[in-house]
């Protein structure tokens, strides 16, 4: 209905393969980005920062990471929580070990370390497939969390076993520690999300992305056209873990400020991120964002409505929330196994064809 495509023709492969091939989409996207970057920070308070935006950005980042592995490369992973822990602990060690290091660098290195660990735990994917692999990735989840519990060096021998994020800055702006400004952490995380979403988009639209999808759709055929399964799977594990590690570092250092492995990086984290990409849409960056928004915002909404407005006791609200999330997952899987993004595509398709039905 809104699209006016006539006359919007492509004269180069560059314009034909753009992320937003439709003019209207492109314009809307940049308007949204401009609002997010230049308007929202002025109206931000701590509640919106800590309860909504930071978790959304960070989980979206993790979801994009997992989507690269699961949605694009077809390797199901239940180890996201563990990899987030690696990112978090790596950033903690870097922050305390090299206090002068800029936070951006800290987080990127933490991502790199996680990528390494990811490759290590991804190695079995060469021999193990499907559910076996999914279960095998749980090994990383349990092992890593155990490791950060038992290996005292990782938490600098603190008595509580907790890690706390000290004050560090990014280009002179404080982004971690107790004295951060909401706009600073907001923009810091938004920047990471934007950057990494862009990188993910670049990767999946090119040669390497196609090699992942080829492995996902038909590994035998992928091999005969020259895709080395080792390289494809390991690169997916590495890049996915890199994303997840960055998300884990931000999760601990910027959002929570303190963490303890058993709670903060439990298997529930792994499941939550997996839910995000399934509900949002496998093999779609937009789907990762939608899924993250859904899983992050739904509980907030519930809490506000059930406890805040209806005055239902907290525990009952919590149980109802669990039931509702579970039921919604089942509902979406039944109604649209390809995720909310599939609804979005259908809607867009209909709008483009409007008033015609096909």
């Amino acid at each position: 209905m809104f699209y006016r495509e006539a006359g919007d023709f492509k004269t180069s492969y560059k314009s034909d393969q753009e992320t937003f091939p439709l003019k209207l989409d492109k314009v809307l996207f940049w308007i949204a980005m401009a609002i997010a970057a230049f308007v929202v920070p002025f109206f931000l308070n701590e509640y919106w920062e800590k309860a909504i935006f930071l978790p959304f950005f960070i989980y979206a980042l993790a979801a994009i990471g997992l989507n690269i592995l699961t949605g694009y490369c077809g390797q199901v992973s239940l180890g996201t929580g563990g990899f987030m822990a690696v990112g978090a602990y790596a950033s903690f060690k870097l922050m305390t070990g090299f206090p002068a290091l800029d936070m951006f660098v800290v987080i990127m290195i933490a991502g790199l370390i996680t990528a390494g660990v990811g490759v290590l735990f991804g190695l079995p994917s060469l021999r193990i497939k499907g559910f076996y692999l999914a279960v095998a990735t749980l090994a990383s989840q349990f092992f890593l969390v155990w490791l950060f519990n038992k290996w005292e060096w990782t938490y600098n021998y603190s008595a509580t076993g907790q890690i706390n994020s000290p004050q560090r800055d990014f280009l002179g702006i404080v982004v971690t520690g107790p004295y951060t400004k909401p706009w600073a952490t907001y923009l810091f995380c938004l920047g990471f999300l934007f950057l990494f979403a862009w990188i993910a988009r670049n990767l999946v639209r090119g040669r390497i992305g196609r090699s992942w999808m080829a492995i996902r759709d038909m590994d035998i055929a992928a091999e005969i056209i020259g895709v080395n399964p080792l390289m494809a799977k390991m690169s997916a594990f590495a890049i996915s873990s890199f994303f997840v590690g960055v998300a884990g570092a931000l999760y601990f250092a910027v959002w929570l400020g303190a963490a303890e492995p058993t709670e903060a990086f439990s298997i529930d984290q792994s499941f939550d991120v997996l839910f995000m990409i399934i509900i949002g849409g496998l093999g779609s960056i937009l789907g990762s964002l939608i899924g993250a928004a859904f899983i992050v915002l739904l509980p907030v909404l519930f809490k506000n409505v059930f406890v805040g407005i209806l005055g239902i006791p907290t525990d009952i609200a919590e149980f109802s929330q669990i039931i509702l999330v579970g039921a919604l997952i089942v509902f979406f899987l039944i109604k649209e196994p390809h995720g909310i993004v599939a609804y979005w595509r259908t809607l867009k398709g209909k709008l483009r064809l409007w008033p015609f039905p096909y």
Binding site: F142, Q321, I322, I323, G326, L328, V330, L333, I334, P337
Partner: protein, 322 residues
């Protein structure tokens, strides 16, 4: 071979094997459903929790959703002193069968012919729902479960061999062994059992046996509900009924990897290997690396095993057809 002389060694072996039987029992629930419907049922652990909660509820005469009712002004908690254990067990059994029917109707039927990963995710969603419903119905507090099984160290064994073995574990093992035997026989020798196995390979073939897919699913989900009930009872008796009971599912997963998702003997042997392995590892290696290795050892063991034998314990070598 000095450790063979260590009396603790035997104690650990036995308690490891006994724990292994319990793992096998939970794993069996997975295998049954996977074989019959190709569904990797992540809700198996929550089913056990739900079953145990229900049993306790019946035993103690709790009113379901009492807490929820209080929101609307009805302050009730118990309607009496509860049922005798055997009746409570029976009722719980019926609840599990009813639940199985609901699951098949609401969740599985609409998802027929979907990919495995989708069904897997659906069972995770199901696990959430069951967990929430269980808590809402019976409350989230830790509950004691007593079904009259003997407890405490077995004096007989303590006296004769000097080993410290809990009677509860022995009885649990005995129950588990009986159940495993029954299920194996059921699956191998009854018409229904064969139909169940057929359906995993070919839905059409199962239909030609004359049983509808729906019925088959209901039966397997009921059976695994019963298995969950037993597992829940055993586990609950040992450490109380609480949320962590649902995590026994996570214990069964490495067993499945080791034994294969479709193999009943695999589940049994795998369970024993893992039970034994993790106890020994924890006892001998654990102290050196900080302990609490049970959380991950089973997974690492299964993982390393699979690297060398991707088809699992009893699987056949996979030849890829092009």
């Amino acid at each position: 071979m000095f450790f063979l002389l260590d009396p603790f060694f035997y104690e650990i072996v036995i308690s490891g094997l006994l724990a292994g039987v319990m793992y096998a029992l939970v794993a069996l629930g997975f295998v049954l459903i996977f074989k019959a419907s190709g569904i990797f049922n992540f809700a198996q652990g929550v089913l056990a929790l739900f079953a145990a909660l229900t049993l306790v509820g019946f035993q103690t005469g709790q009113i379901p959703f009492a807490h929820l009712l209080s929101v609307f002004g009805f302050h009730v908690s118990h309607w009496g002193s509860g049922f005798p254990t055997i009746i409570a067990l029976l009722f719980s059994l019926l609840v599990m069968i009813g639940l199985a029917w609901l699951i098949v109707q609401i969740v599985l039927k609409p998802l027929v012919n979907q990919e495995g990963i989708i069904l897997f995710m659906a069972t995770i969603g199901l696990a959430y729902v069951l967990e929430g419903v269980g808590d809402l119905m019976w409350g989230a507090n830790v509950k004691e479960l007593n079904v009259g099984l003997p407890e405490g160290p077995s004096e007989f064994i303590l006296d004769t061999t000097d080993m410290f073995i809990d009677k509860l574990e022995i009885s649990a093992a005995v129950v588990a062994i009986i159940l495993v035997t029954v299920l194996t026989l059921f699956s191998a020798y009854t018409k229904m059992g064969r139909a169940l196995r057929a359906v995993a390979d070919d839905h059409q073939a199962a239909l030609s046996v004359g049983i509808s897919l729906e019925t088959i699913w209901w039966i397997v989900w009921s059976v695994s509900g019963i298995v969950a009930l037993v597992a829940g009872v055993m586990w609950g008796a040992k450490s109380g009924v609480q949320f962590s009971l649902s995590l026994i599912a996570l214990k069964a997963l490495p067993v499945l990897m080791l034994g294969g998702f479709t193999s009943i003997p695999g589940a049994i042997i795998g369970g024993l290997i893992i039970g034994l392995g993790e106890k020994l590892f924890e006892f001998y290696i654990g102290p050196m690396i900080g302990g609490a290795t049970e959380n991950w050892f089973a997974y690492m063991l299964a993982l390393i095993f699979l690297l060398f034998r991707p088809q699992g314990l009893f699987g056949e070598k996979i030849i890829e057809r092009v």
